[in-house]
Symmetry: C2
Subunit: 284 residues, 2 copies
């Protein structure tokens, strides 16, 4: 079985690696271009992974990939990565012209390598049964922030991330880029209505700790030693009233200087690391 | 004296508030457009403050402003702020057309309010004599990162920020926006050659604590209770060899999950807050 699978892949690689796509009418290129938009991602249940670093992270995480579009220059420069992508992830390799790459890529200076991947976001009921730390992003509209917080949650050792309805999609090109591979490291449930997100956390025995700039308690007062979900709202609007009412604790980050507040990603990183530090201190 | 100053300002406000500038050849408009570029800022020792939030922060900080360009719509919507700007900061008010605003502003959807201000960056020898916590940004090329870290340094109660030569300018429009007013809250010495930055810190008795992903010691091992300078390099390149050699301690942020690292602004925020927390713990 494995031998025949490998032969198939080899054959596919030879077949496609030889062609050189210059037309925007190529079906894979057309698909890839549609994935730049939410409607295209929803319709096809697929998303784009752009650039060397993110594609390498996807391959390292053994993510299945449908196709890998590479320019001539990138094919020469990143031959090892492209070989691994074909072997590990089963990606079909497509050589494309620089013009095709520019049309597919959402970056101003594409690195010449873009993968099409099946969605990685999971339904909220498929999240792990007993995570120790979960990060919930409540209506965070900026995809860069969503990706950056996902990366910080991964670094802090969180077991899952949930974004609520109204958030930017974690599989938008900007979020994927900002997550720098972390999207492939921990399970993410995307755009979950708040009540379902709350229930999923409660069903897992998590204390809901909400960040609220107007809370009386500070982060030092929070009880961090139990499994918990850290709930973060947007910089402009904060948590929804519903989310605030449902949280078991509301805490704020103290501001020592004259800044009005921190930006969302910075505040999230501090809180996630505080949670990580405190649970390590209290459970030696 | 004060009465005559106020009369002058009143007169100036009446004079200019009545005009409506539609030409890109207006000298103030020409100056403002040049301040989008480093050469223009260096030549004129001035920079742009864009948007309601940043202009309000500048006015709150009693920053002197040369001029305030506002569209008709913004003039109606933000009358109180504009009045305060004229009173407090001495800004000359210029009503401009939407087209002029679009040409001056660096944002895609301008809020219709832009100030021209004399530079706020100070020479490194003019920094406070005995700051307790300083943040040094070593060759951080991304202006958004520079501004975001400046904001986090302000929130953490830092007494000054230094950027080294090779960093994005703190007075570039993107950095000013990301700093969200913090540029007007604490002294900043910009683009200082590393040896001068190091000497300025040492002359102030600061321990140099460098963040280095490859350090053996973690942030927990650092000695935070003495006045210190936290030295941060870029995400891509880290600290220069020179900076690393000069630091008294090198520490890394532990990564608990599978992320390779954190992004610079997130790491900076965590470290700055850790410094703030630890010095508060050890000096009750």
């Amino acid at each position: 079985m494995e031998g025949s699978g490998r032969r198939d892949r080899e054959a596919r690689r030879r077949r496609s690696g030889g062609s050189h796509i210059t037309s925007l009418k190529n079906p894979v290129v057309q698909l890839a271009r549609r994935l730049d938009r939410p409607a295209g991602r929803a319709e096809h249940d697929r998303f784009l992974i752009e650039g060397v670093r993110c594609v390498a992270a996807a391959v390292d995480a053994a993510l299945p990939l449908d196709s890998l579009l590479v320019t001539e220059t990138a094919a020469l420069r990143h031959a090892a990565l492209i070989g691994r992508a074909a072997d590990v992830s089963g990606a079909e390799l497509l050589r494309v012209s620089d013009q095709v790459m520019a049309a597919v890529s959402s970056t101003v200076t594409p690195q010449g390598i873009v993968a099409v991947a099946p969605t990685v976001a999971v339904p909220v009921d498929r999240l792990p049964a007993a995570p120790d730390l979960v990060c919930v992003l409540d209506r965070i509209a900026d995809p860069g922030n969503v990706g950056t917080v996902l990366r910080a949650a991964d670094a802090a050792g969180a077991g899952a991330v949930i974004t609520t309805a109204g958030s930017a999609h974690v599989e938008s090109p900007k979020a994927v880029r900002a997550a720098a591979g972390s999207l492939f490291h921990l399970p993410v449930a995307a755009r979950v209505p708040w009540p379902a997100a709350r229930d999923a956390c409660r069903a897992r025995g998590l204390t809901l700790i909400g960040a609220d700039a107007h809370a009386a308690a500070t982060v030092d007062d929070a009880v961090w030693d139990r499994p918990c979900a850290l709930v973060l709202g947007s910089e402009g609007h904060g948590l929804s009233d519903e989310a605030k009412a449902d949280c078991d604790q509301l805490v704020r980050l103290p501001v020592y200087g004259r800044a009005e507040s921190l930006n969302l990603a910075a505040a999230a990183a501090i809180l996630l690391y505080e949670a990580a530090r405190r649970r390590r201190e209290t459970r030696p």
